[in-house]
């Protein structure tokens, strides 16, 4: 019973917020909130590859694009007609199910792409692997630009807006839970071992190739899911949303948060999504300040905001108690 309590509370809270939030916040804040959620999914999924396994991937936008376009096409061709044919099913449920199917389809296709990209990691290491992932991301973008059936350079409009708060933050919860459980499992330990010393891991019997590919597949799956959510939230896709710059943005989140720290990724995703929005008032200076802050942060805290540590309730209360004790002593 206790095991079910957590998920139950989460789902209920998500449903409640799903109903309340769009009514009380203004559309601009709501959109930022949703983009924060999507970026969290992206950052945590990239953290599985970069932070957990130490494989440097700079093509995450490519996986996101695969998931976005695949799930959008799934909905346009199959999902939307299906929703229309389900009589008597309340629309939020029908649309949610259609979205779920589209997300799984997009995620699986992205995972397939992740498997393809992960395979060269058999032979390539470090920067060479990184540049292959970069190449993959660019190839995907150029392919999309040239496939007329998915809109090419015009973009893909008219995707039904199925992604509600519930689904976006449901995905956030799912990816965080998965990453947490992975980190404490045998498989997670194997990934960490590869990150820390690949040769040592191999000599201890870790199947490094399998685990590296696994990390790529998992990371790509959730990047695909994030792409699907992105598509079903904005209801319009354009290849220019998935450039190299997008991959860089996600890497910045992972590194800023601290490699391998899930809570770090979450916080950094929030900060780096909000920062450009908050700097909107200074217009042209916005991106200059953003890049300067990135440089200064890296110089002053190269290990990221949290390093490899995690933020937890017990850690927080300990911090407060220590603070209180220090105050008492003073």
């Amino acid at each position: 019973m206790r095991r079910l309590l957590g998920p139950l509370v989460t789902v209920l809270a998500l449903v409640a917020l799903n109903i309340v939030l769009p009514r009380v916040t203004n559309p601009y804040y709501f959109q930022i909130l949703m983009l924060v959620g999507i970026n969290i999914v992206l950052a945590v999924s990239l953290n599985l590859v970069n932070g957990f396994t130490g494989q440097f991937s700079i093509g995450h936008a490519g996986f996101m694009a695969v998931g976005a376009y695949a799930s959008a096409m799934f909905t346009l061709k199959l999902g939307a007609p299906l929703v229309a044919s389900w009589h008597g099913v309340p629309p939020p449920v029908a649309e949610g199910l259609a979205l779920l199917m589209a997300l799984v389809a997009g995620g699986l296709l992205a995972a397939g792409a992740g498997w393809l990209v992960g395979l060269p990691s058999l032979r390539l290491r470090g920067d060479y692997l990184a540049i292959v992932t970069l190449g993959f991301g660019e190839i995907i973008r150029v392919l999309i630009l040239n496939i007329d059936a998915i809109g090419a350079a015009r973009g893909l409009p008219g995707i039904p807006q199925y992604a509600t708060f519930f689904w976006v933050y449901g995905a956030v919860a799912a990816v965080i839970v998965l990453a947490r459980h992975l980190a404490t499992s045998t498989h997670g330990r194997a990934l960490f071992a590869i990150r820390d010393d690949e040769v040592a891991a191999e000599s201890l019997g870790v199947d490094t190739t399998r685990y590296k590919v696994l990390a790529f597949v998992l990371g790509a799956f959730f990047a695909g899911v994030a792409g699907g959510l992105f598509a079903h939230f904005l209801s319009y896709l354009n290849p220019s949303s998935f450039t190299f710059i997008k991959s860089i943005e996600v890497i910045a989140m992972v590194v800023l948060g601290g490699m391998g720290s899930i809570s770090g990724s979450v916080i950094a995703a929030i900060v780096l999504t909000l920062l450009p929005e908050m700097l909107r008032s200074v217009k042209e200076l916005r991106m200059v300040i953003y890049s300067l802050m990135l440089i200064v942060l890296m110089i002053t805290r190269p290990q990221g905001l949290l390093g490899t540590r995690e933020l937890s309730w017990s850690g927080l209360t300990r911090l407060f108690r220590r603070g209180a004790a220090a105050k008492g002593a003073a």
């Binding site: 060479y128 540049i131 970069l134 660019e138 040239n146 490699m259 890296m298």
Partner: protein
């Protein structure tokens, strides 16, 4: 046949520009193991410095070889300075941190140069003045070459020879090679590692500046984001040749330029940006350390 030869000439010209940029990537990587993402933006700055120098010299009213040379040298000097500042202000403080945080710093510098460029130069393309009057020269067999293309080839060849001379025949070049092998050992031999690293950045940035001016001569529209794609492709060229390897960067750049022009000419201009990466993946699968890279045995 004549069309193929024409494409080859264009490809070699374009490839030598990639080679010039790739040299900067490969030298910095050889010494610091850092992918200097801001390098493409230094190339962009080179084109803009050239523009300002040309305006200041009035080179467009009185086109002459001397003023063109002065424009080139001014751009190189400006970018050399920028390279020194970038290295000292941004990269030196993170040299001891993990390579990833150095990389993020490089990305930050790249974004800073791009957006600073938008802020200062304005987002719309600027027109680079014709400091050399364009002329077509017939090479026979239906192949023509413009005098600007010849200039690109001659200048890049001269710069590559100069670089080779510096790296192989001078004391500072010897020090550069020593530092790229081992920082600590080089420092123990009395080499000032910091100075050598700064020097490397300066040289790399000057080469990128030259590439920027040369490209602007041929494609006179320059804008603050023009460095992103060539920068990325030059980096791929450096990896293709085996990153850290100077002749490899030149060959990689040429292969890349020729492949790109051929794809545009014979397949479709739409796949222009993809070919670089397809080529890269294929070559890396066959030779994981690039064409001329040595597979280094891992020490345990």
């Amino acid at each position: 046949m004549s069309e193929f030869l024409q494409q080859l000439v264009n490809g070699i010209t374009w490839g030598s520009v990639y080679a010039l940029i790739a040299l900067g990537y490969t030298m910095v990587y050889g010494i610091l193991r850092l992918i200097n993402f801001a390098h493409g933006d230094v190339y962009m700055l080179g084109a803009f410095f050239g523009l300002f120098a040309a305006r200041a010299l009035g080179a467009s009213e009185h086109p002459s070889a001397l003023s063109a040379l002065l424009v080139l040298l001014a751009a190189m000097a400006g970018c050399g300075l920028v390279g020194i500042v970038i290295e000292r202000a941004a990269y030196k403080p993170v040299r001891r941190s993990s390579r990833l945080s150095a990389l993020i710093t490089a990305i930050g510098v790249s974004l800073l140069l791009e957006n600073g460029g938008i802020l200062i130069f304005g987002p719309d393309p600027k027109f680079f003045p014709q400091i050399i009057r364009s002329r077509q020269i017939d090479l026979g067999a239906g192949v023509t070459i413009s005098n600007q293309q010849i200039l690109i080839l001659v200048v890049s060849l001269a710069l590559m020879i100069a670089l080779r001379f510096i790296v192989l025949k001078t004391r500072v070049g010897k020090a550069m090679r020593a530092v790229s092998h081992n920082h600590t050992a080089a420092a123990l031999m009395g080499i000032s590692v910091d100075q050598i690293i700064t020097f490397t950045f300066m040289i790399g940035s000057m080469l990128a500046a030259a590439a920027g001016v040369l490209v602007a001569l041929q494609n006179p529209k320059i804008d603050p984001l023009m460095g992103i794609m060539p920068g990325l492709k030059a980096f791929v060229a450096a990896v293709l040749g085996g990153i850290g390897n100077i002749p490899g960067a030149v060959i990689g750049g040429l292969v890349m330029g020729i492949a790109e022009v051929m794809v545009v000419g014979y397949v479709s201009p739409a796949y222009r940006d993809a070919i670089a990466f397809v080529l890269l993946i294929v070559i890396l699968l066959v030779r994981p350390a690039g064409l001329f890279g040595k597979a280094v045995a891992e020490k345990v």
